[in-house]
């Protein structure tokens, strides 16, 4: 369970809640028809609405609504059939309207939960407080001119989902597990690409310390946490900072702090007293958003098998451990690859090969699964040769290396290179006789009780046969010859 921090005055517990901003995968913006595709030239994807020209009005993009509902269903959450867009008012040049259209009192998605998997194999349930839709701001660029700032409005008005967790997280490791699982779910659903480094998933960390079992302490909010690693670093830093204050008898100031990834520290952005009064009120340009049961059910029917469901199915159907299943479902295409291979081979063998040989090699080469030169049917073909004793597991690794480098079909490579396993007992017996003849001392020692030397003989026979001798037959014959 929760890992406690040992202070000089006793143990402390971290209490963490996350607010994750996830960019919705959509062709156009939340309230305008402008393209929401990233990487275009500055201010080339800005409609009159996005630039807040006089008299312009927002029109809700239904696709974004469906994406939010889809995400809500994927988070096991209640979908609110009536939700309200409100205006969050503040001035900033990258916010052309002078307000952000967001949801406040009535979000589109209510309470839900996700299960997180810890490295030690245990799982925890983390509550989701809500998910709401809102507009993204534009981007201010302060490095383009010595005295002026530039504004790029391409991102202005793009749809974001703000996903708020309950304060259920108790350690940096849990936060990492939560972010990974959330990202995995969003990717499975196709509602956010989850690339934190590219900013399509951003995170604010609310953290406080308390004595175990005590009520929550005063929290700080840390903004600008833009990677899973940064989340872990920021939590470590902020927990330590709060610990030092509390241990020396001080109290935590409720404030918003900024994570500085260069200096690896958080620093105060604004205190509670300076907090903006956003003057939320329902946006009079938009009617309350009403969802029908039909729409919700239609979306529910299109949900893919989600990570946890898939994981449990893999464990049941293929007899995998929780760990193996967890690794294999981490990416949708990985799970799909595994299932293609497992269909025609021993599932456990398939799980081992996908994880160790395939992913290991891809990782070493810095390649993604989609770029793998060895496709799933080809790997299945290789594993079939192991299963029917055509080649040994060891030879299979060489064949795999060949397939990875030069491509080709496993059976063809085995034939061409003459790697077929020797199962002819006469041939193997001949080799064994040679080995026994060449090592009279070891034979004597073995017979004198040095049982461990058996491995030596197996090794010698395998070596002499170029690795092609069937290990089972070698074992059997050796036992006879040496007895």
């Amino acid at each position: 369970m929760a890992e406690l921090i040992k202070g000089e005055t006793g143990a402390w517990e971290m209490v963490i809640g996350l607010e994750v901003h996830a960019q919705v995968i959509a062709n156009s913006k939340l309230f305008s028809g402008a393209s929401a595709v990233f990487g275009a030239d500055p201010n080339s994807q800005v409609s009159l609405v996005d630039a807040a020209m006089p008299g312009m009005l927002p029109v809700l993009n239904e696709h974004c609504v469906e994406q939010a509902v889809r995400t809500g269903l994927g988070l096991n959450a209640a979908i609110n059939k009536v939700s309200v867009f409100e205006r969050k008012n503040y001035f900033y040049p990258d916010l052309p309207q002078g307000y952000q259209i967001s949801q406040y009192l009535y979000p589109i998605v209510g309470k839900g939960f996700i299960e997180i998997d810890m490295p030690d194999g245990t799982s925890r349930t983390i509550g989701i407080t809500r998910l709401h839709l809102e507009q993204d701001a534009g981007k201010s660029m302060h490095d383009q001119h010595p005295t002026k700032s530039y504004v790029d409005l391409n991102r202005s008005g793009c749809a974001l989902m703000e996903i708020v967790s309950e304060p259920d997280l108790r350690s940096g490791d849990e936060v990492v597990a939560y972010l990974n699982k959330l990202r995995m779910i969003l990717r499975y659903l196709g509602t956010c690409d989850g690339n934190m480094e590219e900013g399509s998933m951003r995170c604010d960390v609310n953290l406080s310390l308390r004595r175990p079992g005590s009520p929550f302490g005063t929290r700080t909010e840390v903004k600008n946490v833009n990677s899973v690693k940064a989340a872990q670093q920021a939590i470590e830093y902020e927990a330590q900072r709060q610990l030092e204050i509390l241990e020396s008898g001080g109290s935590i100031k409720q404030e918003t702090r900024l994570w500085d990834p260069a200096k690896l520290e958080t620093r105060s952005l604004r205190s509670k007293e300076d907090a903006h009064d956003y003057r939320y009120f329902p946006d009079p340009d938009l009617l309350p958003l009403k969802l029908t049961d039909e729409l919700i059910e239609r979306i529910r029917k299109t949900l893919p098998e989600l990570p946890d469901q898939k994981k449990h199915r893999f464990m049941e159907q293929y007899g995998l451990t929780a760990y193996d299943a967890g690794v294999l479902i981490a990416e949708q295409n990985r799970a799909e690859y595994f299932e293609t291979v497992a269909k025609s081979s021993d599932p456990k063998l398939a799980a081992n090969w996908v994880q160790n040989e395939l992913l290991g090699r891809l990782n070493k080469e810095g390649m993604s699964l989609d770029d793998s030169p060895v496709k799933a049917p080809a790997l299945a073909g290789l594993l079939k040769l192991i299963a029917d004793n055509t080649i040994s597991g060891k030879i299979a690794k060489d064949v795999f290396a060949e397939m990875f480098t030069n491509g080709g079909d496993a059976a063809a490579i085995v034939e061409a290179k003459g790697l077929r396993q020797v199962t002819d007992t006469g041939a193997i017996e001949k080799v064994i006789n040679e080995v026994i003849a060449e090592n009279p001392d070891n034979v004597a020692a073995f017979k004198g009780g040095k049982d461990k030397l058996f491995g030596f003989f197996v090794g010698q026979v395998m070596k002499k046969s170029g690795g092609k001798a069937n290990p089972d037959i070698v074992n059997e014959l050796l036992k006879k010859k040496l007895s």
């Binding site: 008299g55 927002p58 001035f91 040049p93 002078g98 938009l286």
Partner: protein, 496 residues
């Protein structure tokens, strides 16, 4: 001949154009001359004679080809709150000085598509906030009317659509567009002897019209007759997918509604509109109206709108709240004049301090205050509850009647400078009109006679949601019975 052209109604002009008695170009030229002659009234902020002549020439081609639009060749004035493609649009504010939209508002586009001719952009109160057209950054608009009691002071045309009605009454256009957030169409119509209708909220698209208070703003037409108004409204109405609050309803043939009688209709008279201190001549005009409708076959019923007294306070919370947010976009960053500052905050403050006038600042501050943490529930939420009660009042009343008749304003037009000392006194001008906006209902002002000192008075007709047809039918009956033929002194002087 040319001066006579400016005195025609839209309907008369359309049949004359069709009969080729004169051309659209001649009609446009007559009005352009009148616009020039009436410049002392300061009704127009931007005159567009070249645009008008070009459009008129195109109208003439279509007329020749027998392809007349519903408003073919009719010269109109467009309130400067409507964004007009290629023509400066200021909302009568310095903060939009020089702003030329690259787009045309949905409603003004519909008018253009019907063949109308744009004479220019007319003044209004700044961002439509006012009841006198004295808050425009481009100067006061002067009413073409004068008192006949020797008081020669210039009068206000009403507001916020003051430029629209001053131009219309002074024959500087045949019809005009307005917007009405709390009475900005009906009060100026009443002050200038013109007809103006604010349709049901959602009947006309708000897309491309500079927003004041989004949940209350509605576009509507002004003309010199009810029939002309009906014709313009028909063109201006209709669902617009670009405005989420516009209604996906078909537009009725409004001119067909003008039957000339009131048979089978019940007219409600709300007792709460009989305010203490209302001038006798206003009450008399109301009584006249009741008699006229009775004569035309209407049944008169007494109704009660018990929450009327809370309407004005609720309005002056909701409208400023929305305005404080709607006007946040005028920050000098993307368009409009910018005042550079030492830093960002400084730039915002200097730009907005210089760009907005006193009344706009007052409302932004009220709106910001009522939305602030700690005050929101006491003001904004409470005002919304009152709004609901007021709407219920009307729906309850409409169980007993089809349409309501009330005075349009508590007085005739006042002199420029009067009421300026006390904002609340100025806000009281809207006492009969704001309820209609809060409930989203259609409302119309029709001239019904002159005050003792010779100034126009108007009666207000309030309808059920989406029932502009009955409002227009009732207004038409009043118009006929009142036989309002008085003309403003500015015209008479010129004719003489």
């Amino acid at each position: 001949m040319m001066t006579d052209l400016t005195d025609l109604t839209i309907t008369e002009a359309l049949s004359a154009l069709k009969a080729k008695k004169f051309s659209a170009t001649e009609l446009a030229k007559a009005h352009i001359a009148q616009v020039e002659a009436g410049r002392h009234l300061n009704a127009y902020i931007t005159e567009t004679p070249e645009v008008a002549l070009k459009q008129a020439a195109e109208s003439d081609k279509r007329i020749a080809a027998g392809q007349m639009g519903k408003l073919e060749g009719i010269p109109l004035a467009i309130k400067d709150l409507y964004c007009t493609k290629g023509i400066q649009t200021t909302a009568s504010s310095a903060i939009l000085k020089g702003f030329v939209p690259t787009y045309e508002s949905t409603v003004s586009q519909k008018l253009l598509d019907a063949g109308s001719v744009t004479l220019g952009k007319v003044s209004c109160d700044e961002f439509a906030m006012g009841s006198s057209n004295t808050t425009s950054a481009y100067g006061n608009v002067i009413s073409p009317w004068k008192r006949n009691n020797g008081d020669n002071r210039d009068l206000v045309p009403g507001g916020s659509s003051g430029g629209s009605v001053a131009a219309l009454a002074a024959r500087m256009c045949m019809g005009a567009t307005g917007t009405d957030t709390g009475g900005s169409i009906r009060q100026p119509a009443a002050f200038t002897g013109t007809v103006g209708i604010k349709p049901t909220y959602g009947r006309c698209s708000r897309w491309g019209i500079v927003a004041f208070a989004s949940s209350l703003d509605q576009a509507g037409p002004f003309a010199r007759t009810v029939e002309d108004c009906a014709l313009m409204l028909e063109v201006m109405s209709g669902h617009d997918p670009k405005d989420s609050t516009s209604a996906p309803l078909p537009v009725p043939d409004f001119t067909k509604a003008l039957t000339g009688d009131m048979k089978g209709l019940k007219v409600g008279i709300p007792k709460e509109y009989r305010l203490d201190g209302t001038p006798a001549e206003i009450l008399k005009s109301w009584d006249d109206g009741i008699e006229w409708l009775k004569d035309a076959g209407a049944e008169i019923v007494d109704v009660s709108l018990p929450h009327t007294q809370y309407a004005l306070p609720a309005y002056y919370i909701i409208a400023p709240a929305e305005c404080s947010s709607n006007l946040a976009r005028y920050d000098g960053v993307r368009y409009g004049p910018r005042v550079e500052g030492a830093n960002l905050r400084d730039m915002y403050e200097l730009t907005r301090a210089k760009g907005f006038g006193a009344e706009v600042k007052r409302r932004i501050m009220i709106g910001t205050y009522v939305l602030s943490a700690g005050y929101y529930d006491a003001y904004y939420i409470k005002a919304q509850k009152i709004r609901r009660l007021i709407t219920n009042d009307f729906l309850e009343a409409y169980k007993k009647c089809d349409v309501l008749l009330t005075p349009a304003t508590p007085s005739a037009a006042f002199a420029i400078g009067e009421n300026e000392d006390d904002p609340v006194k100025m806000y009281l001008n809207d006492v009969f009109t704001v309820t209609v906006n809060l409930a989203g209902l259609p409302g119309m002002s029709v001239p019904c006679g002159l005050s003792a000192d010779g100034l126009p008075l108007g009666l207000q007709i309030i309808g059920k949601p989406w029932d502009e047809a009955t409002v227009l039918r009732t207004g038409h009956v009043i118009e006929r019975a009142a036989n309002f033929v008085a003309k403003p002194q500015a015209i008479l002087k010129k004719a003489a």
